[in-house]
């Protein structure tokens, strides 16, 4: 079985006057239905790695395949299309469009993909939000929701087109512990109940410990820690 995400010596260097290496020679493979933590101190390159995996950024060197397809030769348009159907993003900040209600925000990726009829999209957005415990807040705008609620709307939006891969960048980073717990449970649920692969960058080691697998990044490189036998180098 081919892995969902596969990288080979993935490298990202910012071409500044003094080149900054964000990610260096990362080779890893993530399969389906995995709950993966990317850990590391801040500035270690975990977010950068996540952006590369999410096709938001282009690697300077190395190979990246998503769903068995090499992303190297893809055009900007193809990368966008892959992002739309294969990948869901959750950021530290909710990043919802402020003028639209929770339900409309969830509908946006579906409308861009255009696979469903409008009433179906509406229905699906409602279902997704309800399943994340937001049934009462469908028509509220982001500024009328709490931080945890917004983050769960963002999760629902990431799920809109039913992508196999969810990438979360410090999803609980700006939340209090109770909301964090809720969001974490939501993400865990995606793996256990919906069969998604969730890759989350976090510096919360307690949280990382509760996930299936940990990839520790230091200075842009995978740091092999003892006691993590399934980590591939």
């Amino acid at each position: 079985m081919s892995a969902l995400v596969e990288t080979e010596k993935l490298t990202r260097i910012l071409p500044e006057t003094v080149p900054v290496t964000l990610v260096k020679d990362v080779t890893l493979s993530i399969g389906e239905t995995e709950f993966v933590a990317i850990t590391g101190p801040s500035g270690s390159g975990k977010s950068s790695l996540l952006y590369l995996l999410g096709l938001l950024d282009r690697p300077t060197d190395g190979k990246l395949s998503i769903g068995g397809r090499d992303t190297g030769p893809m055009t900007e348009r193809e990368r966008a299309a892959t992002r739309l159907s294969m990948i869901g993003f959750v950021f530290q900040f909710h990043f919802l469009l402020p003028e639209f209600t929770a339900r409309e925000n969830v509908e946006i990726p579906m409308r861009r993909l255009g696979r469903l009829a409008r009433p179906k999209m509406r229905e699906r957005a409602g279902e997704l939000l309800t399943s994340l415990g937001l049934g009462e807040h469908l028509d509220k705008r982001p500024d009328q929701l709490s931080g945890g609620q917004r983050q769960r709307v963002a999760v629902a939006r990431a799920l809109a087109n039913d992508p196999p891969l969810i990438l979360a960048d410090e999803p609980t980073g700006s939340l209090d512990s109770r909301s964090s717990e809720q969001v974490f449970a939501t993400l865990e649920n995606l793996v256990r109940e919906r069969g998604k692969t969730v890759v989350a960058a976090t510096h919360d080691l307690d949280m990382a410990a509760r996930m299936d697998r940990r990839i520790h990044i230091v200075d842009g490189k995978i740091d092999l820690l003892p006691g993590q036998p399934h980590l591939q180098a």
């Binding site: 977010s47 950068s48 952006y51 999410g54 938001l56 950024d57 900007e76 348009r77 966008a80 299309a81 892959t82 992002r83 739309l84 159907s85 990948i87 993003f89 950021f91 530290q92 900040f93 990043f95 919802l96 469009l97 003028e99 639209f100 946006i108 990726p109 409308r111 861009r112 993909l113 939006r157 087109n161 960048d169 410090e170 980073g173």
Partner: protein
């Protein structure tokens, strides 16, 4: 509503006041452009109408443009003649009856023959140089611009009782003569005759009002010692635009110089083209300024919505979508501005059309502003506005589309 349009609308609605200012900027530009075009075009039409009205559409005179084909050339094939020039004795149009009969058969319009000679009009001790024009009072009204400008009398009065003359009011004033007085006309041949003033006209054109005297054709022929001669045929066409064709054909048939009004006024028509170029340059400049307003607001929106751009890109919107979205916003402002501007322009033109004013010099001509009502002006102004809106929207849109989402997302954390 398509998604991109949906989001675009929230962007421009979200910046209410700035959007209104940008829309009004375009609207004022479009409105003034339309009003200016209507005035310029109106003035031009009015000017050309007067030009066409006051002069014959085709003027055939007894001049030759080129030397006549010599009979010897027709008879002998070996004859070559060089150094010919058109003869310059102005004897008038040869065989006028045949010439007019020929024109009668095909010219789509009316015409009148006349004999024009230079002379002097004398009254008491004063003298005025004048063009002495012999006409046929029955045919003249069809081609003459003066018919409607008689202050006293008419062309018809010439026929009653022999030696009569019609002169301009200004000339009469300078001579100190009035209706019923008898003036003396002296021709360049040295012949002298007395005529009674039976009509006065005032056309508003000084050269005419003080320099033309109309007699019966017969009297003019006697005065200039050219019995049966005419030296000008003036044609008024049903459609003045056919003048060049008619002139060409008349010249080919009669062999005399026939000048269409367009040819006679070439330099004026050229000046009108220059005027139009100036007008559209100004319209372009106004639209450019309006374009800056649009550029400004779209630029502001792209800066303000940088986060939204990053979000949408991370969700899987390609760059082309981003470009289209902001271009759409620019075009929407341009379109709204055009629509309001058209209404504004229309009402401004209407208001201008109500203004009446007197020309102080004579105190008798009350005029309205000449205004052209043409849908084309609205189309052109709107097209200019949409064009500049497209450019003004596209530039920031392209920049926005190129934004790197990673930088923005990092910046937010």
């Amino acid at each position: 509503m398509p998604l991109i349009l949906d989001i675009a609308v929230t962007h421009i609605v979200g910046r209410g006041r700035q959007t209104i200012v940008a829309v009004l900027g375009v609207a004022v530009g479009v409105g003034f452009s339309i009003a200016m075009a209507a005035l310029m075009q109106g003035g031009q039409d009015d000017f050309i109408r007067q030009l066409v009205d006051t002069m014959p559409h085709v003027d055939i005179t007894d001049e030759h443009r080129t030397a006549r084909r010599q009979p010897a050339e027709d008879v002998f094939t070996t004859v070559a003649i060089s150094g010919l020039r058109p003869r310059d004795d102005r004897r008038g149009i040869i065989n006028p009856t045949a010439a007019t009969a020929r024109l009668e058969s095909w010219v789509p319009g009316r015409f009148a023959e006349s004999l024009k000679a230079q002379g002097v009009i004398r009254y008491s001790s004063r003298e005025v140089g004048a063009a002495i024009i012999g006409i046929d009072p029955e045919r003249e009204p069809a081609v003459s611009p003066i018919v409607g400008d008689f202050v006293k009398g008419s062309f018809a009065a010439l026929t009653a009782g022999g030696n009569n003359v019609v002169i301009g009011e200004t000339m009469a004033g300078r001579l100190g003569a009035g209706l019923g007085d008898t003036i003396t006309a002296v021709s360049s041949e040295g012949l002298t005759r007395d005529f009674k003033i039976v009509g006065l006209f005032h056309t508003g054109t000084t050269a005419r009002d003080e320099g033309e005297a109309y007699l019966l054709l017969k009297n003019a022929q006697i005065l200039s010692a050219r019995p049966n001669a005419i030296n000008e045929i003036r044609i008024k066409l049903d459609d003045p635009n056919h003048a060049p064709d008619v002139a060409r054909r008349a010249e080919a048939e009669l062999g005399y110089k026939a000048v269409a009004w367009q040819e006679a006024n070439e330099s004026i028509l050229e000046a009108l083209v220059v005027r139009n170029v100036i007008m559209y340059t100004v319209v372009g400049a106004i639209m450019l300024v309006a374009g800056f307003g649009i550029y400004n607001i779209i630029s502001t929106i792209t800066h303000e919505k940088a986060r939204d751009i990053a979000i949408m890109k991370s969700l899987g919107f390609p760059e082309s979508d981003m470009r289209r979205m902001f271009l759409l916003e620019g075009m929407a402002i341009g379109a709204a501005g055009s629509a309001i501007g058209c209404a504004f322009g229309l009402s401004m033109i209407y208001a201008l059309s109500l203004i009446r004013f007197e020309i102080a010099a004579t105190g008798q001509e009350i005029t309205r502003l000449p205004i052209a009502w043409s849908a084309l002006h609205y189309v052109i102004a709107s097209a200019f506005a949409l064009g500049s809106a497209a450019v003004a929207g596209y530039l920031p849109a392209r920049r926005a589309a190129h934004l790197n989402p990673v930088e923005i997302i990092r910046g937010a954390t």
